[in-house]
């Protein structure tokens, strides 16, 4: 029982940075902007967070530094993409590579050093409960933050007027413009907010989940996975978080399986979550294929079950919007 609880606690912790990055990208893409720089941003933010924490001696300042890096990268993207109308994809890619190398280069002096970490919070009243206690009774603040933000943005996106405007901008910017919604401003704002969350994810790695800095840090690839999870999650905060936890579960399972099958190469278990994610993505999107339609035609029950998993991207995702240019 305790073993199960500790495993779940481990999943929540390992999944926290992924959840934050996924939420950030979900918001950005809901506004119609693709931020491909996730992977590099996470690393640079992780490095900066750790370095700031080490120099200032305060991990909270480190977290602020991480968020700063996320916002800074996103502002470059916002400038080139929504403001100047150039390719978001190209600049995102370049930022990924640039940020990653910059992180390794600038982070060299801080590599393999012992630095401050975020404290573990223990919640009175909950920590002593059986089973629940070990799961969420004492965790890093980033875990609580990731859980809280998941529900917050879910509510924000689907129950508030601002959330409705955000979705409108990502779906039909022209119609949104005609209704007096400030399309460009919203796109820029949500790119920056998304960037802040991605930066936070970097800090969550280097200050809590995988403390310290080095090459590799352990956060490599997390940004790409988060990008995939956004699609898997159908641009929905709850489903996105679920996808992130699923990935974390696979990673944790990999560690256990490795102990069970010592004969198999360790790499197999480290890599296994990635193809499993690809398979999941395929499963989620197969409703559009012809053979699936045939199958669903024969077994209508199957269709009803899978239709809930059907996802469609925001209609204007990645498209440029210029109010002065007529369609």
């Amino acid at each position: 029982m305790d073993f199960l609880a500790l495993t779940i606690a481990g999943i929540l912790s390992a999944g926290a940075p992924l959840v934050l990055a996924t939420l950030g990208e979900t918001l950005t893409e809901r506004a119609g902007v693709i931020n491909l720089s996730l992977d590099g941003t996470v690393l640079l933010a992780a490095m900066t967070g750790f370095a700031v924490a080490l120099i200032s001696g305060n991990p909270w300042w480190g977290l602020v530094g991480s968020v700063g890096v996320g916002v800074a990268t996103a502002s470059i993207l916002a400038l080139v993409g929504p403001v100047l109308g150039r390719s978001q994809l190209a600049v995102g890619f370049i930022l990924t590579l640039f940020c990653r190398d910059l992180a390794y280069f600038l982070g060299h002096p801080y590599a393999r050093k012992f630095g401050p970490e975020l404290p573990v919070w223990s919640i009175p009243g909950i920590r002593n409960l059986p089973f629940i206690g070990p799961i969420i009774g004492y965790q890093s603040p980033v875990v609580y933050l990731s859980l809280a933000l998941t529900f917050f943005f879910w509510w924000w996106l689907f129950s508030t007027r601002s959330g409705l405007e955000l979705r409108a901008v990502g779906e039909e910017p022209w119609a949104a413009f005609a209704r007096g919604i400030k399309v460009q401003r919203l796109r820029i704002v949500y790119t920056l907010i998304g960037g802040a969350l991605v930066g936070l994810a970097g800090g969550a790695f280097s200050l809590a989940v995988k403390p310290g800095w080095g090459r590799p840090q352990g956060a490599e690839g997390a940004g790409w996975i988060a990008l995939a999870i956004v699609i898997f999650g159908g641009w929905h905060p709850l489903r996105g978080a679920l996808g992130a936890y699923l990935f974390a579960t696979l990673q944790v399972l990999g560690i256990y399986l490795q102990e069970l099958f010592p004969g198999l190469p360790a790499v197999l278990f480290q890599v296994a979550p990635f193809p499993v994610m690809i398979l999941t993505l395929l499963l989620v999107n197969m409703g559009r294929t012809g053979w699936f339609k045939d199958l669903a035609f024969r077994y209508p029950g199957l269709k009803r079950w899978l239709i809930r998993w059907q996802v469609t991207a925001p209609a204007a995702l990645g498209l440029d919007f210029r109010p002065e240019k007529e369609t």
Partner: protein
């Protein structure tokens, strides 16, 4: 509200969309804005709605000029526009669409306000449904309610009757009359259909080639309006033989075909098509015509039944095989699905008729342009063409020898003259024994041009009749689910 256009000019590069327009609109009146395609109707109205700015001149609202004009500013002043293609959010729910850009209210207030407005006009809209699932007519109704909720004093309706049923149209007209008479709203009704202007409007404004040619009060004289719209007198449509030569055998046979679309299934379609025959598909949008056209084109899966083409079973075969066998489909979304918006006309011709093709289908771009009277340069991109030119280009790109031509709304958005031109070309093709299946929202077009009429209702093919045996009125009744199908 009193609106005054003062010497409005709008240029796009060298194209003069509007030139020197002076016009006054009074409250409580319904105006018809008439003109052929490309006459500058939409441009003028989009300036009024704040979507584009005039190159020169100004618009006064109750005597005051507007500065830094944009759509939300226009709405605040009380100008609301209902666009030809609804400018809404298909992925969002009805009530969310209603809420966006509207008065600040919570969910419950939004819902009750929407319900109240809908009840007033006897519209039936379910608030939780996604707008993408609605018909064009319902989407218009929703937009209309939204504009009224915002207190629009000037309502612009850009071709609102395309894609809605006769019943919906009558409802819309009643609503318009109510609004003008009881609430003192100014209504501008943009159209190229004379009959609708006669039915609804108290005054007509005619544009021709960007210039204002007339502003006349009712009653109108149709022949005079036509002269004002087109300049010269239009030739009458040529009479075509409605009875088709029945000797020839069916070359296409559908046997209890079931077609699976994105949103619904069309069941039990059985019919045959003879060479040179013209079939008109009538029905309200979303009742099966789209699916049948796409099924014949090989774009939709045949779930059951047999689709026989020249004695061979074609169901389940890939689209390219359909195409190779001489089946050609022109979708309603001409620019999006039929052409490459950013490629030039020359490039379109080269793609359609590659020079190495043994010279058999060879058609030089210049010849094509001339034969189909496409009014543009070869270097123009398809995006820049008018609707009529786009359709003529599409027709020009079809290979000479094809067996079956499928057309979705072949003359939608085209003016009378262009429409006649398209049809005289199509009839010529049929004389060379190409069979033709087309859908149209215009029942007169079906009556005038087809040998057989297929009528769809409730997502089923309910009637297959020779055109000479059915009147337009009867078609309308069957489409609306009234009367007995045969």
């Amino acid at each position: 509200m009193h609106v005054e256009f003062q010497d409005i000019h709008k240029y796009y590069g060298r194209v003069r969309a509007n030139e020197g327009i002076d016009l006054t609109l009074e409250p409580g009146r319904i105006y018809g804005l008439l003109g052929e395609n490309g006459a500058g109707k939409s441009t003028l109205m989009r300036m009024l709605a704040g979507h584009i700015e005039p190159t020169r001149g100004r618009i006064l609202f109750d005597g005051k000029p507007s500065r830094g004009f944009n759509p939300s500013r226009a709405l605040a002043l009380g100008v609301g526009m209902l666009y030809q293609d609804p400018l809404d959010f298909p992925a969002l729910k009805v009530w969310e669409n209603f809420r966006l850009g509207g008065t600040k209210r919570d969910r419950r207030d939004t819902l009750s306000r929407l319900q109240k407005l809908a009840d007033r006009f006897h519209f039936r809209l379910s608030p939780e449904e996604k707008v993408g699932e609605l018909t064009v007519g319902e989407r218009q109704q929703l937009e209309l309610l939204r504009l009224l909720d915002l207190g629009a004093k000037v309502l612009i309706l850009d071709e609102p009757t395309t894609g809605i049923s006769v019943k919906q149209k009558e409802m819309l007209f009643t609503t318009m009359r109510q609004l003008a008479r009881d609430k003192g709203r100014t209504i501008v009704f943009v159209t190229h259909k004379l009959a609708e202007v006669e039915e609804l409007c108290q005054e007509v404004i005619v544009l021709r080639r960007g210039k204002l040619t007339a502003k006349l009060p009712a009653p109108f004289r149709p022949d005079e309006l036509i002269k004002l719209m087109f300049g010269a007198k239009q030739e009458e449509p040529e009479e075509d033989q409605h009875r088709h030569n029945l000797v020839e055998e069916n070359f296409i046979q559908l046997e209890q075909v079931q077609l699976l679309g994105e949103k619904y299934t069309l069941r039990d379609v059985s019919l045959g098509i003879r060479p040179g025959e013209i079939l008109g598909l009538a029905g309200l949008e979303g009742n099966g015509q789209e699916l049948l056209l796409r099924g014949l084109a090989g774009l939709v899966r045949v779930m059951k039944g047999r689709l026989i083409f020249d004695g061979e079973e074609f169901q389940g075969r890939p689209y390219l095989e359909f195409r190779r066998s001489g089946i050609h489909f022109l979708p309603a979304a001409r620019l999006e699905h039929g052409l490459f918006p950013d490629l030039s006309l020359n490039e379109h011709f080269r793609l359609a008729f590659p020079p190495h093709n043994g010279g058999r289908h060879k058609l030089s771009p210049e010849e094509g342009m001339k034969a189909f009277s496409i009014q543009a340069k070869l270097s123009t991109s398809a995006r820049a063409l008018s609707g009529g030119n786009q359709q003529r280009l599409l027709l020009a790109l079809i290979p000479r020898q094809i067996r079956l031509l499928l057309l979705e709304h072949p003359t939608r958005g085209l003016d009378h003259g262009s429409g006649q031109q398209v049809w005289s070309h199509l009839r010529e093709r049929c004389r060379q024994s190409t069979a033709l299946v087309f859908s149209s929202a215009d029942l007169d077009e079906i009556k005038d041009n087809s040998h057989r009429v297929l009528i769809f209702y409730n997502r089923r093919l309910i009637a297959d009749r020779p055109t000479f045996s059915i009147s337009v009125e009867e078609m309308g009744r069957l489409m609306a689910g009234e009367g007995r199908a045969v």
